[in-house]
């Protein structure tokens, strides 16, 4: 990675195209010595453009907005909440195979429509629409059942879930790009409106508009554009089919364990070598299970991990320093890219002091659908 760009996230008075333009401006302002003509490839991560912006064939549309004319590769990736990280991975593959020398990645989603029920219907179509969406299933009911089972099987408490939101909002309060740049108390989380029992509004990531962008260049050219390139050293992904009732478990995510293991082993490091991690806290319960599947907490003890402050700065592994999905919101295609942006900015000291960790190794994790798919990147900066 040689440069990054972010838009403000939130309920934006802006279209999908305008968000893409803003991300492109931020990116090219950051890599200001890179002429657009040298960008040979573009990868666009967006999940629901057909439904939420009535726009197909999104990659060329984004090329038009950015004013770039790809001569090597042009592609759009769609994998629901993992769309953005998948775009990162495709760009990495293109560069690693020599198909591209310089590739731009844009993750973008416009989610706030005049009728929120239409957005919710499109989100329900991320699950199996015919067999599960039809019952009114969307992400909140799914993760609510995961939370119910985790509380039932392991005694995880309502307060422990709430602490995840408190931590991530404390970080997002330092992030002017976040949808929710405000601290919240545990009391506020526990008294926020119920969404899907037992999960409340402040246990849930927002319906957010936003975009993020990253520029990748091969190792041979990276230092032309920055003195502090950040490298993708490992990647892993594991998945199963999408029917909730055919998942191996609600409370164990073996595909995450596999993706984490593969990404770390490809990089030749362990989880203990990580200085920070960006993990997919679409709901408070998700981050608790992620502590367990990262191998940092024993199965069922994720709640204790947050109680002990182990995912805070100064804990075992600081997580979601940009504010996570809970604090920043979750424009589906943009999230995986924005997580990488946070790591690059941490490594290069571009974040506010209150959330600065620095470091040289980081892991980013995305999940999608009903946690049936997990994708992980391991990132590194030369010290």
């Amino acid at each position: 990675m040689v440069g990054t760009g972010l838009t403000h996230w939130g309920v934006r008075k802006a279209t999908l195209k305008e968000l893409a333009q803003e991300a492109g401006k931020a990116l090219f302002d950051d890599v200001d010595n890179l002429p657009k003509a040298e960008v040979d490839s573009l990868f666009v991560g967006t999940a629901l453009a057909e439904r939420l912006a009535f726009q197909s064939y999104v990659a060329p549309m984004v090329a038009e907005q950015l004013g770039i004319h790809p001569t090597r590769m042009l592609a759009r990736t769609e994998l629901a909440c993992v769309s953005g990280q998948l775009a990162m991975k495709m760009a990495y593959m293109a560069i690693a195979t020599g198909l591209s020398d310089i590739a731009a990645v844009v993750g973008v989603e416009k989610m706030n429509l005049p009728d929120m029920a239409e957005t919710q219907a499109s989100l329900a179509a991320i699950l199996d629409r015919e067999w599960e969406g039809v019952a009114g299933m969307t992400a909140p009911p799914y993760f609510a059942m995961v939370a119910q089972r985790h509380m039932y099987e392991y005694g995880t408490t309502r307060e422990q879930l709430g602490l995840v939101s408190v931590k991530n909002h404390r970080f997002s309060a330092t992030n002017p790009y976040a949808h929710f740049p405000k601290e919240v108390s545990l009391d506020q989380v526990l008294n926020s409106p119920m969404v899907s029992t037992p999960l409340r509004l402040l246990d849930s990531s927002g319906i957010t508009d936003g975009a993020a962008a990253v520029m990748l260049a091969g190792e041979d050219r990276a230092r032309e554009f920055t003195d502090t390139p950040v490298y993708i050293e490992g990647a892993g992904q594991a998945a199963t089919g999408n029917l909730t009732v055919n998942l191996p478990s609600l409370t164990e995510w073996p595909h995450m364990r596999r993706a984490v293991r593969d990404a770390l082993s490809m990089a030749g490091v362990t989880i203990q070598d990580m200085d920070l991690a960006e993990v997919h806290d679409c709901f408070s319960i998700s981050e608790i299970i992620e502590y367990e599947e990262l191998g940092l907490a024993e199965k069922g003890k994720g709640g204790q991990f947050i109680e002990e402050g182990q995912s805070e700065i100064g804990g075992q592994l600081p997580m979601n320093t940009r504010g996570g999905l809970l604090g920043c919101g979750h424009p589906l295609g943009a999230t995986g890219v924005a997580q990488v942006v946070e790591v690059v900015q941490q490594f290069t000291g571009q974040v506010p002091q209150e959330r600065y960790v620095g470091g040289t190794w980081a892991l980013t994790h995305n999940l999608s659908g009903n946690a049936n798919n997990h994708s992980v990147l391991v990132l590194h900066r030369d010290s």
């Binding site: 009728d115 929120m116 029920a117 239409e118 919710q120 219907a121 989100l123 329900a124 199996d128 629409r129 015919e130 067999w131 599960e132 969406g133 039809v134 019952a135 009114g136 299933m137 969307t138 909140p140 009911p141 609510a144 059942m145 119910q148 089972r149 039932y152 409106p193 119920m194 969404v195 899907s196 029992t197 037992p198 999960l199 509004l201 029917l243 909730t244 009732v245 055919n246 609600l250």
Partner: protein, 149 residues
């Protein structure tokens, strides 16, 4: 049986309920059986696996000869949630509603559907029975309803 509250008027691309006739889908017997009050699925005649959802090709052995089998009409709640906000288009008036996963009696098969019953008293392990949901346009779907143990 559950009668849908009102006729749902949504464009086809916002209609959650599948088209059910023979001209639309190869698993149309599923919907015919449901019209008769039976919850059924396909069983692979080559490897014997009972499949959910009903299919035309077996994901285990790749055979494409299926037979229809009746599923147990009763089961136990494995997990559930009361949805209070964020309903998809066409379901706003259903709020609040309960969605749950039910383990069918005597099997390890699970099915996800709406659960009808006193929301306050629902719990994991509670017995439920299949009930047919009838849409105003004649199509059908299925829900579960709590029963005495």
């Amino acid at each position: 049986m559950v009668e849908a509250k009102a006729e749902r008027r949504v464009p086809y691309l916002l209609d959650f309920y599948p088209l059910q006739g023979e001209e639309h889908t190869r698993i149309h017997p599923f919907f015919q059986h449901l019209q008769e009050g039976r919850l059924t699925t396909t069983r692979c005649t080559a490897c014997g696996e009972v499949l959910w959802q009903p299919r035309v090709v077996c994901p285990h052995c790749n055979a494409d000869e299926m037979e229809w089998v009746d599923l147990p009409q009763v089961g136990e709640i494995f997990a559930f949630t009361s949805v209070q906000a964020g309903a998809p288009k066409g379901m706003e008036e259903d709020l609040p509603f309960v969605v749950g996963i039910v383990t069918l009696k005597g099997t390890d098969m699970q099915i996800l559907a709406r659960i009808e019953g006193d929301e306050e008293s629902l719990e994991i392990g509670q017995p439920v029975r299949v009930t047919v949901e009838r849409l105003a346009d004649g199509r059908v779907w299925f829900r579960f309803r709590t029963v005495e143990a």
